[in-house]
Symmetry: C2
Subunit: 294 residues, 2 copies
């Protein structure tokens, strides 16, 4: 793609690309029809494809063509999609609306939604294993760690335990580093791993950039939960307060939360400086994530 | 180990070995305590370790030392353990007893059990990716397929859809080939893949043997559900009938189900003949599975 193309065009094209790849991953292939339908519903119902965009952008930074990044981009989206299905279940957040549609368990029943989530997690590893990986065991282990108890699932467990209590800011940060940060870092690392080898310093800078972007993404989520409306968000607004969850807004107030977002954006941008123009898309994603309204 | 050692000694030693490996996989490592405890509870609460034994036995058949098979053995047990946790949840089988203890969600709550199952699935891939694999992408894809919509999760979806209806025998067989058979086949294939390269014919024979053993295992399960008592089984007996599920016993009657088991055992044994003495442990597992009383 022409490097001069504007970010909305680039991100629209890449999000569309990710959707096509995911559609292929979920082509009918001897799967039981109801399960297959629930899986497609959970994955192909829109969404910003933030994690896929990050993988593609990190791939560009490392000089990888998008077709080499496809598997990594799809894998992180599949993990994200499964986590939303399980997170929406009655025993978790008990949410009925997601991206403006009934949640998976409302549409397909709890048991089928549970299985669809389980099968989507398996599919993520199947898809990544089928990609063009330089060092397959390392990259599969990276995704597994990001998804598991030391990553996303661990963050959700911390979230669960803390509901109804007031967290210290450092504990809230730790929780989000796992709950949303781990998979975002994996998206960027997996994307970058599709291209030229990185030095230890470069990997560390990318990782710090990813951590800042992940956290900024979450703080913005907290602000939008207070200020957004359900139509824009495609999900219920105000649910953090209703569930008595600690958020950046409840701990800092909206104004300080906004300052934190700007600080994190600057930090992410600073880490990218060493990569020059090759980091353009990642930087643009950082800007976009921190100024989004949905 | 001395090749003359009797099967109960061999299987006891290997089951113990698998438990130690699983204990190591679940050592505390920056995991949230409650989640970590639920994961350990689900995995380390005993069980026959059938799938791990199959992996070790298939490894022996291919000349692999047990330490090379450890990761594969642990990975299949982790997938199995996660599936039991999710299968026991109120929205699935709603079971309160497993291996003589409260099920995971009874002990830790539904949400934590859901997350523990999710994290155990991730851990399975992490552990397998950390093993000494000849062809990591192929073996990780194999496990992912066995666990996912074209394997175990797909079988559970078929089971779910068929509850309350009477299945044809061929549909029942198809369901079990996915629900329990896929992971058993994966255990044997992953174990064998740890050793010498197999010819296409050898792999096909092993696969037919695994399919017969997986089906035999399930038919015996159905018989025990009717004839066993909860104390021996460590789980509720008679639940198939209570849930109006089609079983081999409900379709064939106990006597014909027993004949089917013997037929499958003979079939599994016949497939192993070409491997000579190296297949001894797999053959013994086939005998054990078909004559077990719990």
């Amino acid at each position: 793609m022409n490097p001069d193309v504007a970010f909305p065009v680039w991100s629209g094209e890449r999000a569309q690309r990710a959707a096509v790849v995911l559609d292929c991953c979920l082509a009918p292939a001897e799967r039981p029809p109801a399960l297959h339908e629930a899986m497609r519903y959970a994955v192909l119902g829109g969404g910003k494809r933030v994690r896929a965009l990050m993988a593609y952008a990190a791939g560009e930074l490392a000089g990888a063509d998008p077709e080499v990044v496809d598997a990594a981009a799809a894998a992180v989206e599949l993990i994200h999609a499964y986590s939303l299905v399980h997170d929406d279940l009655p025993c978790m957040d008990d949410d009925v609306l997601r991206r403006g549609r009934p949640t998976c368990h409302v549409a397909f029943g709890e048991a089928m939604a549970l299985l669809a989530g389980d099968a989507l997690q398996s599919l993520a590893f199947e898809v990544l294993a089928g990609g063009r990986l330089h060092d397959a065991p390392a990259q599969l282990a990276l995704l597994a760690q990001a998804a598991g108890a030391r990553g996303m699932a661990g963050g959700q467990a911390l979230d669960l335990e803390s509901t109804g209590t007031t967290l210290a800011l450092s504990d809230l940060e730790r929780m989000h580093q796992l709950k949303t940060g781990a998979l975002i870092r994996a998206a960027i690392r997996l994307g970058a791993a599709c291209g030229r080898p990185m030095s230890v310093d470069e990997n560390a800078a990318l990782d710090r950039c990813a951590a800042a972007m992940g956290l900024a993404f979450q703080v913005v989520d907290d602000i939008l939960d207070v200020e957004g409306d359900a139509r824009n968000l495609g999900k219920s607004a105000g649910k953090d307060a209703a569930q008595r969850k600690s958020t950046y807004v409840s701990l800092l107030g909206v104004s300080a939360a906004r300052e934190r977002v700007e600080q994190l954006r600057t930090q992410a941008r600073a880490e990218l400086a060493r990569f020059g123009i090759s980091a353009r898309r990642l930087g643009e994603i950082a800007d976009w994530l921190t100024t989004r309204s949905s």
